[in-house]
Symmetry: C2
Subunit: 764 residues, 2 copies
């Protein structure tokens, strides 16, 4: 599994961090029974931070107001590719209220994105940072941006990955346009043998578009210096990661940098790394001796803080006539954007099915556009869109029901390493989902319905990395009145972390969640937790909380035994009270016990135990879509999505359902209309706003039915949680595409599934 | 010592807290060598928070600005004793910008000061709380206060403790005017026998005035609710104490209340308990749904947040003609003010000298004035003023040098419990101090100098509780770059806690203090520490920090041994690096080791070990004063103070010298001019401001010479610190009074030593 983890982490982390995932903490875990035997865990408790959110009193990064705070705005390159010939800031500096301006001329040379700099005179995309201004108001800062004169040398550009691979394409970096100089390859078995063995071979090309993260809360920071100590209120998925990056950028010890995040309005991967804006704000704050707030606007978010890279995937699939997969092949090209980023999407093909011969070749390509970043299930959403349509195509060729075909090629062990899974209930998910959508009512012959509105049913499987892992810690403090504090270095992206951590402690300590205060997101005071990415938060942190709570119970039991002078089996514990009947009835609350122990606040430190060795940890699931296609307009109406998942332990059905709803809706946006459009002629983004770049709303939301087939994964960890954040989105576009095929009998291989593509397909 | 501690804590804590001081943590300590063998501890490192303080960027409670924050002001009773007949707030409510008004009519009935209430219609002193107003600005809140109509029934009052003891005196409380209904008594040996044994018996009455704490930073809080969660930025000496009190007052679990304090401009005991203002602000904030800031002004601080109670002390001292103390007696009366408070001052007499027969009777008395609170060495400053003059008088009667007399009656064991001290270097302090002041040059016959300016030399001993104790914890986090965070629930009152904690960690970890960030004063995230009172902070918290750092070194050594595959004795550690020469030269920084351990942040939790059983722990010291008295004007000029102390381990000579300077200067203010003046006829305070109530400034500061005779107290704790905050002030007034006697031959028995008293004495 260590191997597995290292590869997994490629999607999210810089290499430097990978070695950290070595498993060193001891393995010592006591599986819980199923949820029906538990009191709090698994219950649909509403969010403990609900009041804060709905009342508006929740503190987001931009709600921080500091005395003498100033405001920064960024001048961004208007061209896809240019070099700065000269910058003149003198006019801007003279504007009343302008306090400081930094450019590549006066800022320190801080390395960023590998070999370029925080401010680099070589600008590689529309949105690249040219200057940053601090002023007494945002309006004045914006006025100053307009007054900065920049002379650009315009350079030839390329905004299409396939063109960028051509010999004569403009080069973005010295090493050429292929990220790391070469493709990434994987082989198992023998592809050619596999193709020969087969009765049917299909080759098909798919492509997916660029998607912008567009979380509700924009990116930004408030920064404040005290001497050489820097405090950052940041909208981030990883407070410790931001701390490391900013400390390294500014040459500070990590102990001098404090990163705080209480609430967040989403990140989806775009907030896993420190932003240039944070460091720019810190440099300005240092220069002008005042706090600085920097808040990106929607246009900047569309241009400059990440996206899901597009993909151009050529797949080959080979099967015997009895429906046994013998070979799978993928060549993919993905746009990294202007700087190094991961673009791979081969993992679905490598890990979903039992196929002995697999070959993969993947190219990450520089183009003159905003850099890609991890985006909810990076690679998997793209990969499954292609793979799961190919699977349907293969099934059709051998005259098998697509679901039967999937069961036929079910991976009973992990196909890359030939090790067992800690648990895999995908079959159960298939069957529950199929029953629920009415699988038997799908068109036996695709597109065979008469009339202009044709309905169809389709499905897609999914697999994702699961289970999280160490290092993750939680401190638990018991107050004298029996209330509790839990402190963890994790963060709640809006997914319910505050609530589930309280539930786990409540379960162990048998006190109500209202007496448990969870504190997250402060690098100075919290023990370490990793970034909230990869669906790892609940899976990594809840076992640490359970461990801390159980250590506390052990302490309290020892004290109760001493106080009562009785063995453990003569003492009862329930609802925060120890009691005994013999020799006489006595009761001690945990608060009273803490007092008798001479403690005002009792503390324990819990840790995430190691994952089991020799097992693959994955979550599984499937979505089934029912669509209605209007063959006159080409419009797709998604009528229903059924989601069925094996995600290990259910901690809270409400927050899980929230995550799955969100994943499906985001998946529908990607399936049906979200698309970053770059103008081929100018290299500029045409829809960097919410008007032209559509994100789905409640009006686009179909009926959603959710089935969780797992109770827990008892082999995995103290809490048996695998994670659900990313799995929720992965199969949606593929399920919709397969349903569309089932409706109209035409296969759309390119996302988004817009009416023009439907009409074109119907006419072909 | 458990007994000792319980009695000690009477000064500072409510009874409820006393049981907490039971000693339960295990005793496991490794004494350090003397400071000359240490690298960082004992060095005069300048404050790590110096930049924050001098740049103005330090965040005090009132620097917190919150969105929609409002401002509260308090209407206080203008009479010394009254009952509210009616309150009409209707006019005030109509003022634009007034948001909320609470009085006893609409506020919840929250118990305060024992049997009265947060808002009580029975008002017992000028300053008692009548109403609290929240408005959009302080100015509007003040305007509203003036518009509130209150009809008072005026009640007879008493502002002199001796008068309050009379039968026909107005009664403040049902139980009468004696606090707890009866005096506090202590006896050892047989007083009458002791008096009979003696050759000389002196009876003398002394009295000391009321002193106001007047820290630079006023009292106050900023409060903010999120649902039923309350955050308080408070100027407090005890964040956990404030949390307990406010949670209890508002009926909240402690986990719902967060108290934060980063910097403080002094407290001197007046900030050891939660203020009514905090709870009033919280009630208003809840009602109006906005954050509230409440900041007391200087007048309110003089009236309503505590003082050092006055004392009327009658002492008897008995000695044999060879200078052996045979009996000591004290009857004291002290003004508690309008509500229960400690007023005792018998400990100096009980514990300073080896005297077999001691009898004490002490009365705490209610008067119609602001309530007393702990004030830097409560009881001891008053007690020593009387005792040490009595000692000089006795010495003179038996023709002994006062210093020789003190050595003759030196307590070689603790006189109350007959147990040894962990250490006592008072003799060394006497000798060093005497030499330094030029003791042999004092007037052999008091007042014998000719000329109008007469100089004199006097001295006073001091004893104080020392050594702190559990529970106190510190969390230590090692970051991957080798920098460190220390988190403790303590607070830095301005005394240098941030710096000394970093020094202790630096000593163990052998990394510079600049790479160590200390975080204090946050109940949500810190492990428990007690309030900063009783000179316990350094003594309680530094051993916890050392323990945490040593646990960290143990972890790192284990990891280094595993990495190098070598036994400990083949591995060297210095300056954050492990190294080995054989079999080949290798170096690993602690940051690299943490990585190899699979950790991004390594954490340990240190704890304060138990104090040694069967030992008394006290700090000792003496001050010597040289004064010049102008017999024409009665003015005293203190020319020099020599301070010599046994305070256990010296952690940082700069911060220790700062504390001693501060203590002496505050002691001089008390000795020479500070005095709360209540008008006998109106019962009101005449000098509730900095113009009429003088506090000492740099112009009142004499030459000060400091000698620390201790290196450490190795029997005490991991760091051997006894504490210096209060000892610094204790002997100053007595030393000055004895020096004045030595100069003019007249004994002034009443503080402050104002020119009128000198002139009166000279004329008698």
């Amino acid at each position: 599994m260590a191997e597995n983890k290292i590869i997994k982490s490629k999607f999210f982390f810089e290499e430097e961090e990978i070695e950290q995932l070595a498993e060193v903490s001891e393995r010592k875990y006591r599986p819980w029974p199923n949820n029906d035997k538990l009191k709090v865990v698994g219950k649909g408790i509403t969010r403990l931070d609900g009041y804060d959110k709905v009342s508006g009193s929740a503190t987001y990064a931009f709600d921080v107001i500091l005395p003498r705070m100033t405001f920064a705005k960024t001048l961004r390159c208007p061209h896809p590719h240019a070099r700065i010939k000269s910058i003149d800031t003198s006019k801007a500096e003279k504007i009343k209220g302008v306090l400081g301006i930094i450019t590549y001329l006066n800022a320190p040379k801080i390395k960023w994105y590998g070999n370029s700099f925080l401010f680099d005179p070589h600008l590689r995309y529309e949105g690249d940072e040219v200057a940053c201004v601090a002023a007494v108001s945002e309006a004045i800062a914006e006025q100053a941006l307009k007054a900065i004169k920049v002379e650009y040398e315009l350079l030839p550009f390329v905004v299409d990955a396939r063109k960028a691979l051509k010999k004569d394409a403009p080069k973005l970096h010295k090493e050429g346009n292929v990220v790391r100089g070469k493709p990434s390859k994987y082989n198992r078995g023998d592809l050619q043998n596999g193709l020969k063995e087969a009765d049917v071979v299909i080759e098909q090309t798919f492509n997916t578009q660029v998607e912008i993260h567009n979380p509700t809360e924009p990116h930004g920071s408030v920064v404040n210096w005290n001497g050489d100590h820097l405090t950052i209120w940041d909208s981030t998925q990883g407070v410790f990661r931001v701390r490391s990056q900013v400390a390294a950028a500014l040459g500070l010890p990590e102990s001098n940098v404090r990163v705080i995040k209480k609430y967040m309005g989403g990140g989806f991967g775009s907030k896993l790394e420190a932003g240039k804006y944070t460091v720019m704000a810190a440099l300005l704050a240092k220069t002008i001796g005042r706090p600085v707030r920097i808040a990106l606007d929607r246009r900047e978010m569309n241009l400059a803080v990440g996206n899901r890279p597009d993909s151009f995937q050529t797949l080959k699939g080979a099967v015997t006539k009895d429906g046994r997969l013998t070979a799978l092949y993928l060549k993919s090209i993905g746009s990294a954007g202007a700087y190094p980023a991961g673009t791979g999407c081969a993992w679905p093909l490598r890990s979903m099915y039992d196929c002995p011969n697999v070959s993969v070749e993947e190219y990450g390509v520089y183009i003159n556009a905003g850099r890609a970043r991890a985006f909810r299930a990076p690679g998997h959403v793209q990969g499954f869109f292609a793979l799961e349509q190919l699977i349907d195509m293969l099934a059709e060729k051998v005259n098998m029901d697509p679901l039967e075909f999937r069961l036929q090629n079910y991976a009973h062990e992990e196909p890359n390493w030939h090790i067992p899974y800690t648990s895999k209930l995908l079959k159960q998910a298939y069957l529950v989902g199929a029953k629920s959508i009415g699988w038997e009512q799908r068109n036996k012959v695709a597109g065979s319905q008469s009339g202009p509105i044709k309905t169809g049913i389709g499905m897609s499987s999914q697999i994702w990395w699961g289970g999280g892992g160490p290092p993750a810690y939680a401190n638990l403090k018991l107050n004298r009145d029996g209330s509790v504090q839990i402190i963890a270095g994790s963060q709640d992206l809006g997914t319910g972390t505050y609530t589930i951590l309280a539930q786990v402690a409540s379960e162990v300590l048998d006190i109500p969640v209202e007496k448990i205060e969870v504190i997250l997101g402060d690098t100075d005071t919290a023990p370490y937790c990793g970034s909230s990415g990869g669906s790892t938060t609940a899976a990594s942190v809840t076992p640490a909380v359970r461990d801390a709570a159980e250590q506390m119970m052990d302490k309290l039991y020892s004290a109760a035994m001493a106080q009562f002078d009785l063995p453990k089996n003569k003492i009862k514990y329930a609802k925060g009270k120890f009691s005994t009947v013999e020799p006489k009835p006595r009761v001690l609350t945990i608060g009273q016990l803490a007092r008798k122990m001479g403690e005002r606040v009792l503390e324990t430190v819990g840790r995430r135990e190691a994952n089991p060795k020799g097992y693959a940890i994955n979550s599984f699931g499937a979505q089934f879509a029912e669509v209605a296609v209007d063959t006159n307009t080409g419009k797709i109406k998604v009528q229903k999505i059924v989601a069925a998942y094996d995600i290990g332990r259910v901690l809270n059905r409400l927050t899980i359902d929230n995550q799955i709803h969100g994943g499906i809706i985001q998946g529908l946006g990607f399936a049906l209309f979200e698309d970053r459009i770059l103008d081929r002629n100018t290299g500029k983004m045409l829809n960097a706003n919410f008007h032209d770049y559509k994100v789905p709303t409640i009006k686009d939301t179909p009926e959603i039915e959710i089935h969780i087939v797992s109770e827990t994964d008892n082999r995995l960890s103290n809490t048996g949680v695998k994670g659900v954040g990313e799995p929720a989105m992965i199969p949606t576009p593929a399920a919709v595409a397969n349903a569309v095929y089932n409706a109209i009998g035409k296969r759309i291989t390119s996302l988004p599934l817009t009416p023009d593509k439907i009409l074109m397909a119907l006419q072909s």
